[in-house]
């Protein structure tokens, strides 16, 4: 798990992860990037702040939880902090497993937790002004899936 204070290369991260996991049949990954904003009010930059110490520990906790929930070979998480331009990667998550379902569900789970259970805050700067990004109602619905047992299908 890495907190990246400067721009990172998610493609290279995937290549490294894959080389370290050639014995895994399935590698699922996710890359989040800074969105361009509205055409008539484009995003100029995104500032991501975090709580050092607690962020790392929370991420390690739910990565360990994922390793218990699914038969995974490995997990990789890179989360950017600091000021970013549109198009820059914010987050990279990958999971390696024997079969695809475990890999998919683990990446999905980790992203839901990164979105609403790790102490990061995003502030968007647009021509029209600066605003803090609030979690969307979908983010709360997403994370609730892992609590109510809906996804506890046998894999």
């Amino acid at each position: 798990m890495t907190i990246a204070p400067a721009s990172f290369d998610p493609d290279a991260a995937l290549a490294r992860f894959r080389r370290a996991n050639v014995e895994a049949g399935a590698i699922a990954s996710f890359i989040g990037q800074v969105r361009p904003g509205d055409a008539n009010d484009p995003t100029e930059s995104l500032a991501l702040e975090y709580y050092p110490g607690l962020a790392e520990r929370e991420i390690e906790n739910f990565a360990a939880d994922a390793l218990k929930r699914w038969p995974l070979k490995a997990i990789e998480i890179i989360h950017r902090v600091g000021a970013m331009a549109p198009g820059e990667p914010i987050v990279f998550v990958a999971a390696a497993a024997d079969h695809r379902r475990a890999a998919f569900e683990a990446v999905d789970f980790l992203m839901d937790y990164l979105k609403s259970e790790a102490p990061f805050w995003k502030q968007e700067k647009r021509a029209s002004g600066t605003r803090w990004i609030e979690p969307r109602s979908e983010d709360y619905a997403d994370i609730a899936r892992w609590r109510d047992g809906e996804r506890e299908r046998k894999i």
Binding site: G32, Y51, H79, L114, P119, F120, K122, Q123, P135
Partner: protein
């Protein structure tokens, strides 16, 4: 008497007028709820903001209930809703 560092993140930093305060908490202030009352005395905007139930509080880097008492704290952080990922 020990100093406690109060941390305000994200939009709370603006409400608190800064991200960090060094304070000496009175002995009787020994829960997050007590700290909130103490620091927002006379500041209705901050009081209202910290009263919101979606604000999480970490004492020495551990998220705790507002009524969980602590015996000395080096760092108390006020955490608005997270927006990572």
């Amino acid at each position: 008497m020990n100093e406690t560092r109060l941390l305000f993140f994200g939009p709370l930093r603006e409400a608190a007028g800064g991200g960090e305060r060094l304070v000496q908490l009175p002995d009787e202030v020994a829960t997050p709820a007590g700290v909130i009352d103490w620091i927002s005395a006379g500041d209705e905007v901050l009081a209202a903001r910290l009263a919101q139930p979606d604000i999480r509080i970490a004492v020495d880097q551990k998220i705790v209930d507002r009524d969980a008492s602590f015996d000395g704290a080096e760092e108390i952080a006020f955490l608005p809703p997270f927006s990572g990922g």
